[in-house]
């Protein structure tokens, strides 16, 4: 038998229309046929089923990116964003989604009114992690390792610390020569 590829088995339980976790069990009874769906509670398809096609939902329902033509409803239902401009057009909706799906740290989601949610590196920034920070962190781990009497692991950590310090020394020498 052919091996199943890992991706075939990866799908989590999610709304039959969107990508969110199932929160509503929707049962439809048409004539003799009864159909049950697992859906998320904000699913646009569910809204349409409950309140008819004329949606009273957020105005985002009609939002459409002028550059790539994708609508936010498509994005909510599993399509990927199409271009950098989507982020400007759907800005508030994207933040709302990220908070809802817990895709940003909760503290940030609560405190954010407007303004950037990104706080990492920006283009062109040479952001080398300070080697002394790394050495400090490694020393902390080394300390814990020694407490456990795991000398093999401790030796490895010591080698790593030594290697970093050597590179720093070399770097300094180069800089001095440069001057």
């Amino acid at each position: 038998m052919e091996e199943k590829r890992p991706q075939d088995l990866e799908r989590p339980l999610e709304c039959c229309q969107c990508r969110r976790p199932i929160e509503v069990c929707y049962t439809e009874s048409v004539g003799q046929q009864i159909t049950r769906f697992g859906m998320c509670k904000e699913c646009p398809v569910l809204m349409a089923k409950l309140y008819g096609q004329k949606e009273e939902g957020p105005s985002s329902a009609t939002l459409c990116c002028g550059s790539c033509g994708i609508t936010f409803d498509e994005v909510r239902m599993g399509a990927q964003l199409g271009c950098p401009l989507c982020y400007e057009i759907f800005s508030d909706e994207i933040v709302h989604e990220l908070v809802l799906l817990e895709k940003i740290p909760p503290k940030l989601g609560v405190s954010r009114k407007s303004g950037p949610i990104h706080c990492g590196r920006v283009p062109g920034q040479v952001q080398e992690i300070d080697p002394s920070m790394k050495v400090l962190e490694l020393q902390q781990v080394l300390h814990e390792t020694l407490k456990r009497e795991d000398y093999e692991q401790a030796a490895r950590l010591r080698d790593q610390i030594r290697a970093i310090e050597q590179t720093r020394r070399k770097g300094r020498k180069k800089n001095d020569k440069g001057k």
Binding site: M1, E2, E3, C83, Y87, E97, L98, P105, D150
Partner: protein
């Protein structure tokens, strides 16, 4: 001499960072950066021609970089499914993407540590594998590659959302770090739910190789950052390291207990695992990984002869489909014979193994 020492695994001029890796618990990590070139639609919205243009543009820049030596390029229309899966296995990418298409490319370099996927989900997905636990050093290395590209091709970026990606949940730093931790002792003692499953560790999530936190194939736990946006790169690395160190610590404590108690039930399981690999006539990857997990635990406890940490770590790769097909140099891809060939290969490798 066994078959495996004869066969060529990988591509010519491509080193294997997984060789000589004797890690006992924290086996490896991968760091991935997602980037899109500014002013262009994301890959899903590009025409075939535009995808090819962007792919050529990126590949051209990558070939010129000082940070990548002996660059090898595999284009989507010419790479075989076997080669593609080999790269995915080698770089520990559990990708849900379909088969390669025109306009996609895979760029590797000499050390076998860096892979750039072009036009998969994003214009560029830069991956670096790290078997040493030096996450910061590896991040710096992959940033050096990223900066080299950025000088020629500016990336899509907004002050609000950071680096822009087709999946909004990946924007911001657009940095994903995954660590692979082997925790057989925790699992054998039935401590997983209590020690790890229930515990909330700041900023990280746990899963198995297939993404399900309740199915840890080969007792391998994947620890990854939960968020890419709203945090600094350093914070992502340090939360991940802190979580991994805690898991490693729990596993070590569990192993010490096992070493002290030498429980008959566990020794029986280990013996059976050896028996399976020594005698099976047909075996799938999952069963192989489960058996090898117990054997690796026995190796680390010093209860076994005929097998080393380095060798068993390598086997975690070599038993997988694309690695095995490439090693045996047989047209086994998607063939029902693969389970039989795997069993033949493992029987030979595990023949000298026995519990002491």
């Amino acid at each position: 001499m066994t078959k495996e020492s004869k066969g060529e695994v990988g591509f010519p001029g491509f080193e294997r960072p997984w060789e000589k890796n004797d890690n006992d618990i924290w086996l490896a990590s991968t760091i991935s950066l997602y980037r899109n070139i500014d002013k262009f639609h994301f890959p899903q919205k590009l025409s075939k021609e535009k995808r090819e243009n962007i792919s050529n543009l990126i590949v051209g820049v990558l070939k010129e970089l000082d940070t990548l030596k002996n660059v090898q390029v595999f284009f989507g229309n010419s790479i075989s499914p076997l080669e593609r899966d080999f790269l995915m296995e080698h770089f520990l990418i559990f990708d849900t993407a379909r088969d390669s298409q025109n306009g996609q490319a895979y760029v590797t370099e000499q050390t076998g540590r860096v892979l750039v996927q072009v036009n998969a989900h994003e214009h560029m997905q830069l991956h670096i594998v790290d078997p040493s636990g030096d996450l910061e050093g590896s991040l710096e290395q992959i940033f050096a590659v990223e900066r080299g590209v950025e000088e020629k091709l500016p990336f899509a970026f907004s002050n609000t959302f950071g680096y822009l990606t087709s999946e909004a949940s990946r924007c911001g730093t657009a940095l994903l770090v995954q660590s692979f931790v082997h925790i057989p002792a925790i699992i054998q003692q039935g401590l997983y739910e209590e020690e790890i499953g229930k515990e909330e560790m700041e900023g990280v999530s746990f899963s198995g190789l297939r993404g399900d936190p309740h199915e840890l194939i080969g007792d391998l736990l994947v620890v990854k950052n939960r968020w890419t946006v709203g945090l600094k790169e350093e914070t992502i690395l340090s939360s991940l390291r802190a979580a991994v160190m805690r898991v490693v610590d729990k596993e070590r404590t569990a192993r010490e207990k096992i070493a002290r108690e030498k429980e008959e039930g566990l020794i029986d399981k280990m013996s059976r695992a050896i028996g399976t690999l020594q005698h099976a006539r047909t075996i799938d990857t999952k069963e192989t990984l489960q058996a090898m997990s117990l054997i690796k635990l026995a190796v680390e406890l010093g209860w076994i002869e005929g097998m080393s940490s380095e060798k068993i770590n390598e086997l975690f790769f070599d038993c997988r489909r694309a690695h095995l097909a490439k090693r045996l140099d047989k047209d086994l891809y998607a063939s029902p014979k693969i389970h039989k060939e795997r069993a033949d290969f493992l029987r030979e490798v595990f023949a000298p193994v026995r519990l002491t």
